[in-house]
């Protein structure tokens, strides 16, 4: 394990840093996500993710000023609720459910161990699978999220690597869920935009876990 602060606890500030890093990553990769989505979807994923995570950071700023963020659970629950309220498409409810489930698992504690956050991520991904009905191999965000949670035992950096690897692994797959599924064989050869943004979210987590 190379993460310097892997064992450090997660409080509301650290959870906010994760969301801020995610917002930066989505903004920096907006064009790329949109390009990927125009190959096999409807070219709105980059804009939606940027818009959604910017809304998350501004909702968190407001809540912080009002003293409502008492722990990492309240941060991630609010982030999830904001994504559901602001994004639309399939990615809003799916990412929103993911973060809300994480937040609910963390509960009202002022700070939690990384192991509790890992547990929350597992619950979050379960929520995504239940809501979207996708399994590994369907060429969706689950192809990045599931390997990531499977690798959590080895730390957040490993989970992020697994998500990246999973996203790249969607290239040869044929989509069976979402809008890309209409392409059938023609979806083969393109990386899934949802799996790509999921890897960005995990990358932001690893960044904050390792660099603080």
């Amino acid at each position: 394990m190379s993460d310097r602060n892997t064992e450090a606890k997660w409080d509301s500030n650290r959870a906010r840093h994760w969301m801020a890093a995610a917002a930066r990553a989505m903004t920096e990769n907006e064009q790329r996500l949109t390009e990927l989505d125009s190959a096999i979807g409807d070219a709105d994923h980059g804009g939606n993710m940027r818009r959604g995570f910017q809304a998350v950071t501004s909702a968190l700023d407001t809540a912080q000023d009002e003293g409502q963020l008492t722990g990492p659970g309240s941060v991630l629950t609010l982030a999830g609720r904001t994504l559901i309220s602001k994004v639309g498409g399939a990615s809003g409810p799916l990412y929103g459910t993911l973060l809300r489930r994480v937040g609910k698992t963390l509960g009202d504690e002022a700070e939690v161990d990384p192991a509790v956050l890992s547990e929350g991520l597992r619950a979050g991904v379960e929520g995504v699978v239940k809501l979207g009905g996708a399994a590994v191999g369907d060429k969706t965000m689950v192809d990045a999220l599931q390997p990531a949670v499977d690798a959590l035992e080895s730390g957040f950096a490993a989970a992020s690597q697994a998500a990246l690897h999973g996203a790249e692994g969607t290239v040869p797959l044929r989509a069976r869920k979402g809008r890309a599924s209409y392409l059938g064989e023609r979806s083969v050869g393109h990386q899934d935009p949802g799996a790509t943004s999921a890897a960005l979210l995990l990358g932001a987590l690893a960044e904050v876990a390792g660099d603080e």
């Binding site: 949109t34 125009s38 409807d42 070219a43 709105d44 980059g46 804009g47 939606n48 818009r51 559901i84 309220s85 602001k86 994004v87 639309g88 498409g89 399939a90 990615s91 809003g92 409810p93 799916l94 809501l131 979207g132 069976r176 869920k177 979402g178 809008r179 599924s181 209409y182 392409l183 059938g184 023609r186």
Partner: protein, 330 residues
């Protein structure tokens, strides 16, 4: 690509402000993105609420008014609206008689409307839902997100809207909507791709001299690409695709729909070929609507929707309607 916009970020809000200015019969909440009948809630009447990504105008906001929708929730371009919009719309138009959500079958629309239905029911609004899934170009339904909702949406909204206007209760309005939805089949053809404001360049590539048979209303790919065909050949291919899926056993309503960038001159010419192709195959057309109703931004092309109609359905189709996009009998 040149577009008549200010900046991509305000395209939907700008259009809503323009709708508000043009249509005093509507109440347009630009900030919360909800369009309602100005006279909503209508006492004792079941309310119809629909919504979806923007870029398909006049669907859905242009179909708000007497005899059709009570409210519409426009999302970002090609992106489903969010649950907040739908619950807000439902609360604004519910007279106590309940609300029918008309949902096109796309993953995002279904997820968001399902979440909204739960929230609205928590607030005491009775909700029913009808799913429109009429696009026969999607053949491999078990390995995809299922058939897409396209032109059939107009028939569901008009006919169920008429039933609600006549005072039918929620379960009846929902039953009419489901029957219409099940009776509709659509097939679309793209001659050129569309350009979303956010991307600023075409969302898919269609080489000059080729068309896409079975295209979706967001430019989703269809069944196959072929070299350019004549209007008559396209009509034959389209009618064959529809009838192979379902051979009508009664007269049909026909919607000859433009995708956004195809002139009415061409659409009417296409309609002549459609009527010929249907007649040659023994299908009787009871009513025909020609125009741009379920569009795909600036895509060139057309779609054909056939809706098998019994006497009751025909009567509801002919009932008065007064909306920005569809208006007759009043």
């Amino acid at each position: 690509m040149k577009q008549l916009i200010n900046v991509p970020e305000t395209v939907v809000a700008d259009a809503l402000r323009g709708m508000a200015a043009a249509h005093p019969d509507l109440t347009v909440d630009v900030e919360n993105r909800v369009i309602t009948r100005a006279d909503a809630p209508v006492a004792g009447k079941v309310a119809l609420v629909s919504g979806g990504g923007s870029g398909h105008e006049p669907l859905h906001g242009g179909f708000v008014g007497l005899g059709m929708l009570d409210a519409a929730c426009p999302g970002e371009v090609f992106t489903s609206p969010v649950p907040d919009q739908m619950t807000r719309a439902a609360a604004a138009v519910d007279s106590g008689a309940g609300v029918l959500f008309v949902v096109k079958n796309y993953t995002g629309d279904v997820l968001n409307f399902d979440m909204a239905a739960e929230l609205a029911e928590d607030e005491g609004v009775q909700i029913a839902r009808v799913l429109v899934e009429d696009d026969v170009a999607v053949t491999d339904s078990t390995f995809t997100a299922g058939r897409r909702g396209t032109g059939g949406t107009l028939f569901v909204e008009k006919i169920a809207g008429a039933a609600a206007q006549e005072g039918a209760p929620l379960d009846r309005v929902a039953a009419v909507a489901r029957q219409v939805s099940e009776s509709c089949r659509s097939f679309g053809v793209a001659l050129s791709p569309c350009t979303t404001p956010a991307k600023g360049s075409p969302t898919f590539e269609l080489p000059a001299g080729e068309l896409e048979l079975g295209v979706g209303i967001h430019g989703e790919p269809g069944r196959e690409r072929r070299g350019m065909m004549t209007s008559g050949e396209i009509a034959d291919a389209t009618v064959e695709a529809l009838l192979a899926d379902r051979m009508p056993t009664a007269p049909v309503l026909a919607l000859v729909n433009g995708m956004g960038a195809t002139p009415l001159l061409e659409l009417y010419g296409f309609n002549a070929e459609v009527q010929r192709a249907l007649s040659e195959r023994g299908v009787v057309v009871a009513r025909t609507l020609v125009g741009n109703y379920v569009t795909s931004l600036d895509m060139a092309g057309c779609s054909l929707t056939l809706c098998q109609a019994d006497e009751e359905t025909l009567k509801l189709w002919d009932a008065p309607v007064r909306t920005p996009g569809l208006r007759w009998g009043i």
